[in-house]
Symmetry: C2
């Protein structure tokens, strides 16, 4: 759609924006007593604790609108929010979405963003129950509050890991980071020559991992189905190294991770080769993976291997005094270090 | 403190920032099962519904750091967040605080901001239970998620008002807006001549109303003490006109507000005179008041007058077909209109 045909956000008041939004949302969660349209959302979970997480998404830091479709961005924001809820072994039910909009956004842009949010809500069974809408003098500002429930005894903290526990990981690592590198490369090419078309073919997986990542609802359900309760869990969003260290510190443990067991996709390797980046470094520090890292007692090894073959056992916890190390196939031990503060 | 003596935020990782923050917070709410330091906060209210609200605060839109002390800003952010919880007749218990920090912020600045948040938490009996910290390429970005509890049958929505119900208001209106005008004026003077000192004496009240507003915990407690349950309620943060219209629409009612009953402080009148603004306009559209607007059955008139003399009865609801009007002392009827989208 041409800019000239779009509708300025200022032509709608906040009230009408909220109304427009509320119309696209159907009350689906029986736990939502009141959704959009009052001073606050009202929620009631029967016999369960409430789990709440917050995630801030800022233009230029977390996303680049040059190559990020708004619909994908809406979807990814929801993924980022509820990934933290799954990491507590809880079920997300509601989200609150806050948006700071600058003048360059049109109502149609907002509709695109909400369309992505709505698809994610349907996919994960969530209800958009409230939020805040405001003007922004700078970039697009997004915040999601994710709310979920879990029986108190089923909640998994970062702190419950014990030495000898197996360290398990869902999915693979570094792909989102490589998708980002690809998009950044093509952006630079485009800036150099606007007539050139971007070369994105053959990289569907890493692009999807960056632009439209999923939260691991499937794995949480599979674990529950087989009555496996992790001892500790964290979502991998800052890179494996950083998040494994969080889990270790809070579980008062050390860790050994086997380099050859790190799950890395072939597209990630191929892209890493192309741009001369080490794929393992991307796996350790890339971030934005939204996978789950968890520990289980070593006695569950065979059950895990049999019933959840798509979960990788990448190492094990050990005594805190033994430190946190990555072991290479030739038996070198590389100390795990979190990289600087990215986001 | 001189900038050269301050500590860059980048010298701390997010992990240490969170730790620094967690140290200043004591777990006080028995309903907080897990606060800062995991993927999400875990909360459990016994026999009560959970009420959650979200508020985005952006530099340049909601605050100007030229004249807003960070400690005050932290306090005000909490007020803005929990005011929505009180407006549901619920008790706020926890907050999640998300912060996007640009490079010009130092650790000491963050400490100032948190100091204000902490004072507010102590004053209102809240727990800082989590949030998100990230870099920002633009201005300071703040978001508060406020969480509270209420027995389901005590929750007051915007929609419960009935024709003939009395329209009641806590505090006074327009003062925060006038405080803002004063600060903006002195900023312009300072920009014209940096050696000039700002003239802020004698305007303590309007300055406090803008810089460090309070949420109406006191009134909610007084209403409960006298067993008065409002039929509908909203917090006045966008200006009386806009918020009264929200309440009317959702209660499917019209409204009559008596101009001479609008509570306006003498400082507000004085400042309005000085800068040639109509004080009533400021009261109707100024915003940022964080007062509560609520309705009660007309049968409670005498009880309300006797027990809550500091609550003003400013009008009454009527049939929706009669519209929403402000009545002047000389019996003119001015239609209530919400001003454009400010924030």
């Amino acid at each position: 759609m041409k800019t000239s045909e779009k509708t300025a956000v200022t032509t709608l008041g906040e009230f009408r924006l909220v109304n427009r939004l509320a119309k696209t949302v159907e009350l689906k969660q029986p736990s939502t007593i009141k959704g959009i349209g009052d001073d606050a959302a009202v929620i009631r979970y029967e016999k369960a604790a409430t789990v709440v997480s917050a995630e801030l998404f800022l233009e230029g830091v977390h996303f680049d609108l040059t190559y990020t479709p708004l619909k994908h961005l809406g979807y990814k924001l929801v993924t980022a929010g509820i990934s933290d809820i799954y990491a507590m072994n809880a079920t997300p039910r509601q989200i609150l979405l806050s948006i700071g909009l600058s003048k360059r956004f049109f109502v149609e842009d907002l509709d695109e963003l909400y369309a992505g949010v709505k698809i994610a809500c349907e996919h994960y069974g969530l209800e958009l129950a409230g939020g805040d809408t405001t003007t922004s003098l700078t970039g697009l500002t997004l915040h999601i509050t994710a709310i979920g429930e879990a029986p108190e005894e089923k909640i998994v903290y970062r702190s419950g890991g014990k030495p000898t526990d197996l360290l398990c990981l869902t999915g693979d690592l570094g792909a989102a980071y490589m998708g980002l590198q690809l998009l950044e490369r093509e952006k630079r090419v485009f800036e150099g020559n606007p007539h050139k078309q971007p070369h994105l073919e053959g990289y569907d997986y890493i692009l999807q991992r960056h632009l439209k990542p999923e939260a691991r609802k499937d794995v949480m359900e599979a674990l529950a189905q087989h009555h496996i309760l992790p001892t500790a869990m964290i979502d991998v969003s800052d890179g494996l190294a950083s998040d494994a260290l969080h889990l270790c510190r809070q579980s008062n443990s050390g860790v050994r991770i086997y380099l050859e067991r790190l799950p890395i996709s072939s597209e990630t390797f191929r892209m890493a080769d192309e741009i001369h980046i080490d794929a393992v470094t991307a796996a350790l520090h890339g971030g934005d993976d939204y996978e789950l890292l968890f520990t289980v007692p070593v006695t569950l090894h065979d059950l895990l291997r049999k019933e959840l073959p798509h979960v990788d056992i990448i190492g094990h916890l050990c005594d805190a005094s033994e430190g946190a190390y990555l072991l290479t196939p030739d038996s070198q031990a590389i100390e795990l270090v979190a990289q600087g503060w990215r986001s």
